[in-house]
């Protein structure tokens, strides 16, 4: 049996009650959490909202989320063959699912 990572994700939009969803994604050593999330969107649930741009270069800083309560970049945090809890940043305004308002105020549309 091939290894899997279990991603427990907090879903829901701004002002909506949180719902938790758990997905199993294939695990290969060396992969990032973002690899797992991208696999999940392509193969299981494309409605999952997340920010990502540079994929694995640690350059755009867009994929900031919390992994087991710690703030990480999904592109540099390693996927592991265990249950991993993914939540949006707690100190930023929630937009939807794993997406929060992370732009500085002067760079937002208003």
């Amino acid at each position: 049996m091939s290894a899997v990572a279990t991603l427990k994700i907090r879903r829901g939009g701004h002002g909506e009650p949180a719902r938790w969803q758990t997905f199993e994604v294939p695990f290969e050593p060396g992969q990032s959490v973002l690899d797992g999330l991208r696999w999940l969107r392509i193969n299981k649930d494309p409605t999952l909202a997340m920010r990502f741009s540079c994929i694995n270069a640690n350059a755009c800083k867009e994929c900031m989320i919390q992994l087991d309560g710690e703030t990480v970049y999904a592109c540099t945090a390693r996927l592991e063959p265990r249950e991993m809890t993914l939540t949006p940043l707690p100190n930023k305004t929630l937009i939807r699912d794993l997406v929060t308002e992370i732009a500085p105020p002067s760079e937002r549309f208003k």
Binding site: P29, R51, C54, R78
Partner: protein, 569 residues
Amino acid sequence: MTQEPLAIETDVLVIGSGAAGMYAAIEASRGGARVFLADRSLIGRGGATVMAQMTVAAALGEEVPDAPRHHYDDTIAAGRGLCDEGLAQLLCEEAPACIRELDAWGVGWARKDNHITATTAPGHDRARCVYVDFINTGPAVSKTLRTVMARNKDIRKAGDICIIDLVAGSGGEIAGAVGWHVGSGAPVTIAAKATVLATGGLTRLYRRNSASLNMGGDGYALALRAGASLIDMEFVQFFPIGHLAPRLVGMDPIMWDPFRYKLGGRLLNGRMEEFTSRYGSDEDGKYVLPRDLATYAIFKEVEAGRGSPHGGAYLSFEHCSAASLRAAFGPVIDRLAANAIDLTRMPVEVAPIAHYHMGGVIADPQMQTELPGLFAAGEVVGGANGANRLSGNAITEALVFGRRAGRSAAAHAKTIARKELRAANASAALALVGDGGDAGRDLNTASMIARLQAIMADEVGPFRTAAKLNRALAGIAALADELSDRPPRFAGALDAGFDLQRLEWFDLRNMLIVARAVTQSALARTESRGAHQREDFSQMLPAWRRHQRVRLAGGALQLSGAPAEALVS
């Protein structure tokens, strides 16, 4: 259930916030314009600039004597006879001024003995390529321009704005754009006296690529639908030594280029043999191999069964000492160690990866496109780099063309009293952004993008045949049928924030038309030149020393420019 659009009015609209867009915004503001800078992602974070870890070419002449005409000669030679000479000349002549302005703004170009130091990238006749240590060029350029913009109250910045179409004014000129705010789902109209396209290239069309995932050719699609022509769309540059294996997290896949500038490195096949000399270039431990030749050599070795385990080539720095690696790349060595890579003991695997697009929107040296009121800057512009871009010219063109486009746009805006979006000309786009969609449709946009990327990588890569290209056109058409002409709305309510699938629907609308433009142009070019290699037409033909143009007419892409004798085939 249509939301009232949020209406913006500005002198200059800049679409895209890489180096070209940010420099355009700064320069337009210096020209007296109020600027609205919109990006589909966060400001200064997406696109290609922030990913550019390499070098910027400019004939500064500080270390060795140099002049723009030498840079120009190298640019023209790399372009295989297809460079637009006016654009190439502008690029080379204004590069030093832009580099020095960024220096004054504190970008931190690497220095030696009190002057900016430069390295010799492949294809340059002397040391001409400046950089920021350690492999931090793009992020430093991005951050510097963002900081300069932050001090400027005349530049209004807005991330998470997806522009879906340009809008024509009463006389056919471009009068602004329609889009939506991804953060809130709200439709947005922007009336502008001048608009600058700075949306970058199209590398997202390919499975393995070296730029950000939000660069899917938006500007090409916007220009086509607005009635402008594109040129040279068949010329997609593949970067030969993109990282392939082992899995490397936290690093740009094109990171091995700066390693080769500084340390040489040996390119080896799966049998650990040097092989580039078989393809007409003997490296002799130095890094001189042009990109198109290196891509060709690696593909041919893999095809002959001599590839590395993951289907590429080995790149080895095992001859370098730990001390020399540390001296050249400092903290990067630690990041490699975190990925269990020790270059003194093991080679890595590399393979060609989609990197840059030579083709694009037609613009003159004032960055004026064919449409009045519409300017273009950076990678979205076609022609400056011909059939093959010289190393180091990408950030240079972003800076030079961005500055020029901003200046031209501000000057154009001054000639216009007021610009309003005509309701009749904006209605189709507004209907699309306000479309509530078909709730019953089950469309996996993420999977569709992955399928398109597979088609482009497998059938429209660096080595092409009519059979492959025709298969690609069929696959692209099937995806277009699946997409249909109405955007679904997945996240429920119309005002749902960050409906990523809806964003991907608009992305696919652009990506599919751009994929068609690349593939049809590649099919029509019945020769091999630079980045476009046809296995069924392997010669470079003098009759083909010309640009192909693509425009949209009645939903179909029309090509022109092929030599008369090629049309017979």
